[in-house]
Symmetry: C2
Subunit: 324 residues, 2 copies
């Protein structure tokens, strides 16, 4: 195989992102956050680094940005705590690491990588994952670090309305009455996929979950094959109504359609999202193949996203717009 | 579609099951436990009941039998507690429910079904899942119910040896020094798959996890697509070294090979297990298609298993033996 073309795509969540509720200032902030993450990942690929390092760096940047529902800026559970999930997968080794319901880890995606590289396990959850974080020495952060006034208000509002909210709903709720998760369906997750010059693929996803969530609900983000997958033929990171992605193995399904049906990336990803639409699942995904082709399909009103492909220039989009 | 043929298969875990360590009395007990579970499920199918009810009944029977590492008889974590995982999936609706790390639920598979039917979620974990169990009123059991002297000795031995053990290792350890999980590779899980007369498919899996496990390790059992899957073309329940099943989406992969490559059940399951063998993953799976065809491939020394197919007679096997 000849030298592959480096490529990187990122997302910052999909859902009901209303133009009417977006100010120019806020849009500039989102674009700035996406741009910083894109360049954090691309700097690594551009210097010949690995796709695995690139997706980790991009997701760390998104976790550190309080605008997105992951790391700093994560939503609050019913008990007023942050419970975060993350996963990372290395397509060249088919190895993966995931953490679920971690509380004081500054960058959950870093912990997921340590699970992959330093344990014989794929997934650690809850108190055990926090204990592993302490013992392995990954950077922790106190509750105040994760706190954002905006997310706290979102919780208070959700408790008052007696509902579970997902991610990007708050900007709507400033301008209109809150809607239930099942009607407004906004989703908050960040993710990245990359191909490096050796054609190695990697994917990473991180989320703060759902506002006002209870009962230890596990979403798709930290489940290999549901919200995150990287293999020999493609790498995929999803964002959306997690339960649909879990039942349909959405991330792995793109890969399965390519491997077993012989489809190209674009057709496989389109079919996968069409199937999601058919069954009522809302959201989107970003995916890359070993040739550095990128696709970013979604069936919601918007998806925060950006990519750098063959020509080395970065593109950032929020709504359904021209991808060129 | 004409009337389908009812079919049911169950497993009680795969691994290093040594004939030399098996007494006739013990083997008779295992066969009795498998036979009871098989008939609990078959009674439902035979009366025209659903595959979903049949797999739940079969798994409940195996959870109630202290010989198997699920429900009563579950292994102990490092802290001397039982943490159990279970999942169930209805192929006719592509709906699924799962619970992870639940502690005092008598039959985790029942709770998984309640997650599927009574919540909008697919998966609940840890304290939240236990809280849901209390609120929904599923039968609980105290620690003494789950206690078996045999499993407790297994924990003491594992702590002394400083290792994590999986399921069926103890019978070896009575006759030879304990070996590490990675060398003896014994796995403990129970599961069932079924096809009913309407051609509806279902799968369920339940496990007590690994002896002496720490850090909130999440295995494949409760992950839809990894250890458990039911869809339009097949239903699958896995048992083995969970991390390999998670990275490879083993349960869903059988379905994907059938749907996208047009393979029949037997070839798809064989390819899936061959791939598992190639990458060093040990274990097995049971699977059924909409015609009532059954397969039970495994690459370990033994797999506790049983099935009732077209002719209505039950078969029970432990080692590599004729399946007819």
């Amino acid at each position: 195989m000849g030298q592959s073309k480096s490529a990187l795509a990122i997302h910052g969540g999909a859902g009901t992102i209303l133009r009417s509720a977006m100010t120019p200032e806020l849009e500039a902030e989102y674009r700035g956050g996406l741009s910083a993450a894109l360049h954090a990942g691309w700097d690594i690929l551009d210097k010949g680094g690995s796709s695995l390092d690139a997706v980790e760096a991009a997701v760390i940047s998104l976790e550190d940005c309080p605008l997105f529902n992951a790391g700093r800026g994560s939503v609050f559970t019913h008990e007023g705590k942050n419970e975060m999930d993350a996963a990372i997968m290395d397509g060249s080794s088919i190895n993966a690491g995931a953490v679920a319901c971690v509380r004081n880890v500054k960058n959950p995606v870093k912990l997921a990588r340590l699970v992959m590289e330093r344990t014989e396990h794929v997934s650690l959850a809850g108190d055990g994952a926090d204990q592993f974080a302490e013992e392995i020495g990954v950077e922790l952060a106190d509750n105040a670090y994760f706190y954002t006034e905006f997310r706290w208000k979102q919780l208070e509002e959700a408790i008052e309305a007696g509902k579970v909210q997902l991610d990007h709903s708050a900007y709507n709720s400033e301008t209109q009455p809150s809607t239930t998760a099942s009607s407004s369906k906004p989703f908050g997750t960040v993710g990245a996929v990359a191909c490096d010059t050796s054609g190695r693929l990697a994917a990473a996803t991180s989320t703060g979950g759902m506002t006002n969530k209870r009962y230890g609900r596990v979403g798709d983000t930290a489940i290999i094959g549901a919200g995150t997958y990287a293999g020999e033929v493609c790498a995929v990171s999803c964002t959306g109504h997690g339960e649909y992605f879990m039942r349909n193995l959405t991330a792995y399904d793109v890969s399965a359609r390519m491997k077993y049906k012989g489809m190209n990336l674009e057709d496989a990803a389109r079919e996968t999202v069409e199937h999601l639409t058919k069954i009522g699942g809302e959201g989107g995904l970003i995916a890359v193949d070993t040739q550095g082709n990128l696709v970013l399909p979604f069936n919601s009103e918007g998806m925060y996203r950006g990519w750098i492909g063959e020509d080395g220039t970065s593109k950032i989009r929020i709504y359904h717009e021209s991808e060129s």
